[in-house]
Amino acid sequence: MGDGFGGGPASPGVLNPKAEIRKPKEIRKPKEIRKPKAEAASKLGRDMSTPQTDRAVADGFAVRRATRPAWAVLGERALEVLIYLCGISAIVFVLGIFFFVFKEAFPILGNKQFSLSQFLFSEQWHPTSELNKRYGVLAMIAGTFSVTALAMVIAVPFGLGAAIYLSEFCSGRVKETLKVVIELLAAIPSVVWGFIGLTVMSRLIVKYTGAPVGVNVLNGGIILALMSVPIIVSIGEDALKAVPDSYREAGLALGATRWQLVWRVLLPAGKTGLLAAVLLGVGRGVGETMAVLMATGHAVHIPHSPFDSVRTLTANIAAELGEAPANSDHYQVLFLTGVLLFLMTFVVNLAADLIVRGIRRK
């Protein structure tokens, strides 16, 4: 918006409300000018018909001035202050989230029985044990990463494939329909995905792989893949759309097939955008709660195969926060896990944003 949006919309000579507030009574209001102005303005909106006009003769030019009542000017000022406050609300909320989550977690950092290195690098999680409390979330970190990694292994090729199909191989009605379907796919609530994982997917997994339990890394990975595919498709399609058409035309003029065009031109040209799409998918995977809570089982240990049950960082909070008494160590550690999650997704989203911004600048 740097292109003059910051400056005033009208030149100061035409409209200077402050000057009018000071001496509104000295101004004569000839009717023959007021009427056409009001008519012209009424096409724009009702409020535009209120300004009264006057004629001031300066240097031989007739200058029309719009005067508005003081309350209207003040009201507008107040509204603009409100708009500004709403504008900065996003910053307030991001800081607020970090502040409040960190505030609840803070006391545990000063606790002698707690050490940050144990928190990050131990897989012993015994929050309710009487004698030997252990707060290590390594197993949960491993759970989050294994499920997210598996989901990306499935979702990235399919998502990018669908993005390529949408942007290069189909058009018109088919494209519009597919885009709508993908948008609807993105709207399915995570708890419904979790339910699908719990009831449909787990039975399929037990039936076809012979795994003892159906709720495991594989289940969570498939569910999470289905959830993050829409975001990868839509961002990936945008990235491909951003590749200039002249690249395509040059490729086609050289006699390349569409496949060659995709493989040799579009993928290299759009790779940063596609990377951003993947990163946003990862961000969604790491932060997803209900679906993985219901689909991955509840075992706190580092998984060795896709058929092991795991627990993710998010699922751990969701499962245990209800049982942890407020301000207990357990409760504070769960909030600390929240801080960890916040920072992780912050980094991933920041990276994705920087990449997207870099493309736009080019």
Binding site: A90, S190, G194, L341
Partner: protein, 295 residues
């Protein structure tokens, strides 16, 4: 000059057809399982699905009966949260698109919006618990839960509104400024009326998101069970806790043993159905309004 098909060309064309079918297959393989799964859910839910399932209250320790209290609770949460996030989000987008200059401060605002959108839902829950339930002393209540949801939906409303505002051509604004309108008059008379369809679509899409979220309300105001009269339209006070469809589905499928089999399936279908209907409405509305656009 005649185009002759050499073996090389033929091979390349075969390759292209193959690529097209593979990419089509990838697209289809995301959509077909989904259709099958939804079909399966409906089939399993069929014995319980009826109009009375919607207006009945849960019976026999939630093992049977309907979803009325959860349905009403979800409506409460959605309406309240959007009543907060829609005006704030729209005004924030107006600021970002119409007032803000391209300086470091506004770049930070943009960054904040993007990161707010990426905050995991469970972290929103922690924030709601710390800020609204404890610090603001709203307790476990509908207010806390809907404010938490409002903050979660806010960044997406800002983003979609901004997109709608940015699609109004700059010449419209310039024409308005040139007849002497102030910045806010221009926004009110020209920018907002011309982008209202896009703004509304963005807000409607967030209705379904707010209705579907579970984690943010789980620890701020939603409960497993609350006794409510059948068909009662105003069963909850704002400082009370409430049931919600998404939470109800989670409870039924994981916490309550011995539920009649079709009940959780029917709950899932009701939740999924309402979300899809709302979204489809928004998409149809958007398509209709887009087709009427004159620029």
């Amino acid at each position: 000059m005649m185009f002759t098909e050499t073996p090389l060309v033929r091979r390349k064309l075969r390759q292209e057809r193959l690529a097209k079918w593979i990419f089509f297959g990838m697209t289809a393989s995301m959509i077909i399982p989904l259709v099958l799964i939804v079909g399966y859910l409906v089939e399993r839910a069929w014995p319980s699905l009826s109009l009375s399932f919607l207006v009945d209250v849960p019976a026999r320790g939630m093992k049977e009966g309907g979803v009325w209290p959860a349905l009403v609770g979800t409506i409460y949460l959605v309406v309240l949260s959007l009543a907060v996030s829609a005006p704030v989000g729209v005004l924030a987008a107006v600021y970002l698109n119409e007032y803000a200059r391209d300086n470091w401060f506004n770049r930070i605002i943009n960054l904040a919006v993007i990161n707010l959108a990426g905050v995991p839902s469970i972290v929103h829950a922690l924030f709601g618990l710390g800020a609204f339930v404890y610090a603001a002393r709203f307790g476990y209540s509908i207010i806390s839960a809907s404010l938490t949801l409002a903050i979660m939906t806010l960044p997406v409303i800002i983003a979609s509104t901004r997109e709608a505002l940015a699609s109004v051509p700059r010449s419209f604004r310039e024409a308005c400024w040139n007849v002497g309108a102030t910045r806010w008059q221009t926004i009110k008379a020209v920018v907002l009326p011309n982008s209202i369809s896009g703004i509304l679509t963005g807000i409607i899409l967030q209705v379904s998101r707010a209705a579907g979220e579970t984690a943010p309300i789980m620890f701020t105001g939603a409960v497993f069970f609350k006794a409510v009269d059948k068909g009662d339209l105003f069963p909850y006070g704002l400082r009370e806790q409430c049931m919600a469809l998404s939470m109800h589905l989670y409870t039924l499928s994981t916490q309550v043993p011995g539920v009649k089999e079709s009940v959780p399936f029917a709950t899932a279908v009701v939740l999924l159905g309402s979300v899809l209907v709302v979204n489809a409405t928004a998409i149809i509305l958007r398509g209709y309004l887009r087709s009427r656009k004159k620029w």
